[in-house]
Symmetry: C2
Subunit: 589 residues, 2 copies
């Protein structure tokens, strides 16, 4: 066993020094400032008490620092996974209840086991089933759902709903009971955070601040909103006026917790945990790869599965909920100069200190401020340009993104992902069952063969030249059979078929059976099947079957050689036979 494969810390740890330490520590302070309000907000979004967001930002970060292969990925609670946790655990118990919190722990535990197993068994390729349109559509729809769900906290009203239609109608019912102080805080915080995003950086730069520092200060905007709205709440006693606040957060390190070993509960949560794992993994890897490439580093997706798996298992044992690599915080970590996963470990330590000593400061923080933080964060997830670009590029892929967005909004997150995956797969299988193949002829005075429909080429009515442009598999084997038999039935003069196999990388057992059947049927009809340009590995394999000995015709190295040789054979056949009678021909090329 190669230890460094499973413990990337052994590689970067060896070269660790003072300079790297300072860089990592500075990055960790900046990420911590950003992460504290976000952790509380995402825990709230997931229907959990706020401290659980902090707990999920401590041990998982330490563990990821040991096992993760990305140098700069920042792990913790993220918006989409929080929404998925809310949806899955709500099916077990009402949000906030002890059973609900236990279900969130189990989700973290199961996700961890799933990710870890996929990593050890090198099953990362299964994440490929989530096509880009599905992931993009799902995140956009989730962003819309999350932003909509937070409006109730901005208005200070009650609203509930499993999906968008229910949520909106519930909000519409309760809009009369709006709480104006809450609404004021919410609307100001939202406006402020939007302005921080767009306007603060140029302003700071105009005051002479270097661009990358201005960028980082702007990212700390939420902490200002937290501070100001908390103070306003205390000064004006807004809690008495109906403004909901975070309330007391226990001052403690993460508790040791054990996920419930309840088989029935595990069965109920298995599918949601799988979806949380795969969506979290896909997002995390894509962030990790983008950042790694900027420094010509590299991440190992199978090791990422192990790192994220271990992080989630540790979340389950330290009172947390499912975590993954977050986009915004990873970019902040990277931009702030983090160089190794130690930055993540330092972030964990700073958050632990905050959890121990600073939580009383957050007790009077209005929920509306957290809602504003969430809305501003998730609206950047909503991407309507991609569906438009995909519509122009490919109607099939558009069907996948449209279905994912539509089903997610109307029926919820799980049906949304599942229907997107199934539709993508069905479309892929449909395309795979119709391979590209062309009837070809020789370009005059060359050795090149081209599609007879696009080029002026030389053909011989007794010889059918077919170029196959894909590997032959069980999905397209039957298509090939039908295509060739159809061509033969339509062209009664044909006595020879040459299959040009230059683009065939593999022939599976079903396709072998099909070309054997084609060969036998052609022998029955007194037609010879020839092959040309068969690749080495394909030929090696064909030699293990009986196909080559049963082949009616020959195998040629090049299509040009094949065509010449077969013309010669056909000419010899002609001499040996009675003259051809055109009145019996059913079709002519």
């Amino acid at each position: 066993m190669n230890f460094t494969r499973y413990f990337p810390i052994l590689i970067w740890g060896k070269a660790y020094n003072n300079r790297i330490f300072v860089n990592d520590a500075v990055a960790a302070i900046i990420v911590t400032i950003m992460l504290i309000p976000q952790s509380l907000a995402y825990a709230m979004l997931a229907g959990l008490p706020p401290e659980i967001g902090l707990y999920a930002s401590i041990l998982p970060l330490l563990i990821y620092a040991i096992f993760g292969s990305s140098r700069t990925l920042a792990v913790g609670p993220v918006a989409v996974v929080s929404l998925m946790t809310l949806t899955a655990a709500s099916a077990i118990a009402p949000p906030g209840s002890a059973e609900f919190i236990a279900a969130a722990l189990v989700l973290a535990f199961l996700s961890g086991i799933i990710l870890l197993s996929m990593g050890i068994l090198k099953l990362g390729f299964l994440a490929n089933l989530l096509s880009h349109p599905v992931v993009s559509g799902f995140i956009t729809a989730s962003g819309i759902i999350i932003a909509t769900s937070q409006l109730k906290s901005i208005f200070g009203i009650k609203a509930n709903g499993e999906n968008m239609p229910a949520l909106i109608s519930s909000m519409a019912e309760n809009i009369g009971s709006i709480n104006y102080p809450t609404f004021l805080i919410g609307i100001f915080a939202t406006a402020f955070l939007f302005w921080v995003r767009k306007g603060l950086k140029p302003l700071l730069m105009r005051f002479g601040m270097p661009e990358h520092i201005a960028e980082l200060v702007a990212k700390a905007g939420p902490i200002a909103a937290v501070a100001v709205s908390t103070m306003a709440t205390i000064i004006f006693s807004l809690e008495e006026k109906g403004v909901k606040i975070v309330g007391d957060i226990p001052q403690s390190l993460p508790p040791f917790s054990v996920p419930l070993m309840n088989v029935e509960l595990w069965q109920q949560l298995a599918v949601p945990a799988l979806l949380i794992s795969v969506i979290g993994f896909v997002e995390s890897v894509s962030v990790g790869q983008t950042l790694a490439a900027k420094r010509r580093q590299r991440i190992d997706p199978d090791q990422e599965l192990i790192g994220l798996g271990a992080a989630n298992i540790s979340a389950a044992f330290s009172g947390g909920y499912p975590v993954t690599g977050g986009f915004a915080r990873s970019v902040v970590n990277f931009d702030a100069g983090a160089q190794t996963p130690a930055a993540g470990a330092f972030t964990a330590i700073f958050i632990a200190i905050a959890a121990l000593f600073f939580t009383p400061l957050l007790a009077s923080l209005p929920i509306a401020t957290l809602a504003a933080t969430i809305i501003v964060a998730v609206l950047s997830l909503v991407d309507l340009k991609t569906p438009a670009a995909i519509w122009k590029y490919s109607k099939m892929d558009f069907a996948a993104i449209a279905a994912t967005i539509g089903v997610t909004l109307i029926a919820g997150v799980e049906p949304g992902v599942i229907s997107g995956v199934l539709l993508s797969l069905a479309l892929f299988l449909w395309r795979s069952s119709r391979p590209h193949a062309a009837i070809i002829g020789r370009v005059p005075e060359t050795q090149h063969f081209r599609n007879i429909e696009r080029h002026k080429v030389f053909t011989d009515p007794r010889i059918l030249n077919i170029r196959i442009d894909e590997s032959l598999t069980y999905l397209n084997a039957r298509w090939l059979e039908e295509f060739i038999l159809e061509q033969i039935a339509d062209n009664i003069l044909v006595r020879h078929v040459i299959l040009m196999c230059s683009a065939v990388n593999a022939i599976d057992a079903s396709a072998l059976e099909s070309i054997e059947a084609i060969n036998h049927r052609m022998i029955d009809a007194d037609i010879k099947l020839h092959l040309s340009e068969v690749k080495g590995p394909v030929m090696d394999r064909l030699q293990k079957s009986h196909f080559i000995e049963q082949l009616g015709g020959n195998i040629y190295l090049s299509q040009n050689e094949a065509f010449d040789a077969v013309i010669a054979i056909a000419n010899r056949q002609k001499e040996a036979e009675t003259p051809f009678d055109p009145y019996h021909a059913r079709g002519v090329i």
Copy 2:
């Protein structure tokens, strides 16, 4: 709407004449003689009263003659579908009960609707999901199960079991109560039928009979076994000695029946009906294509779906059960000289006459004779050569056939097919996620580029030439991303990457996103991405995206041209830069 597309009878019906009529009628008589004992036997295998086998051989044949696209396919009850019917309907009610018979009718109806819908929506490609190893393994396993299940009728004992292990242990328990007269009939009938298969034809030919007539006479062997064993039963009053007989069969035309419109029952039978449809369709099309090719005819798979769908719906309304095209009887029909589907219609008429007038002759037919007929027929389905050949050819395909046979034998027909399909699909997706790609270089003094691992080629350490050998899809896009980023991370001198796209037939939206990401990451790392030999349709589509305008490098018509041009660019860059410092290089090609 093109009527002849949906009613092939309009095409062959126009050219119908006396000569064709005589040929069709003779073939129909021979098929009828073969079909009568088979229909009774397969109905019994399906757990249905014998007359239902006859009913399923009347109206469906007439309807297929109108809609079917094969000229010589003979439709009716077949062994594998009968076994699947038994399994599916047994889950509803005990075999032989009124509810069981009603379930079989519903199965025929649902199969008909499924096949018809697939035909109208042109979804025939879904049958491709059944790979050759899965179909072959399933049929072999079904043959073993059927043959084993008939042993109880040969021994005259009782035995029951959902799957092979249960069946065998049930037979072992009851082997003590063997009925010797039954066993004698069974063993003689089996031996006789085996001999007829192998020995009768050569014997008849030695007596001067022409080969194809000897072949047809040998196919009529079962009727001799039926006649002799029936007479023996009557003469020696074997029924009193415990020999089970077919008993009274109502003398009637098929009754008009209406499948139960019970939603719950439909839900229970939906999956089995789907499997029956698809397995039946795949078998039928493969027989139809084999026969059509011998006469250079052609069948239309989508129209076959319509033909088989209509036949099954008609079975549901005429007291039958699921039917499909049978291999043995179609070959007999073909060999006997059938020229059009009218032969099938005549067969239906002859069987109707038999059902009306000759059923009393069959009352004393021993069940053991029918069991012998089934055993001899299905043992030809058991094919152990194919698994051996597939083992040699491809270990992955062998996994699919082994899983299908194993699961079918141990857990039953439905889990068997489903696990085979899922395993084939998983293996296909796994292979699709690892496309073939090669680092290439120029073969000296040519314009050809070949794999650097296999050929002595010229390369430039600043330029990475990659040939992609497959279409880029969402399944392999991430692989490509990792492959290229890995190559760049490993080869620090690289400043240009040229992707040779000669084998790329399509790039889907996910793959587009990936090559866009590759391009952006390379721009970040100051590396230029170039493309060469992009196919016309792929280029047309890329032009609808922003990829080409964002591309760091250029697009070249040929790989050779690209390599020359990029070397020139790299040389100009070199002049403009400080000299290269080898001590900072992490790797060299």
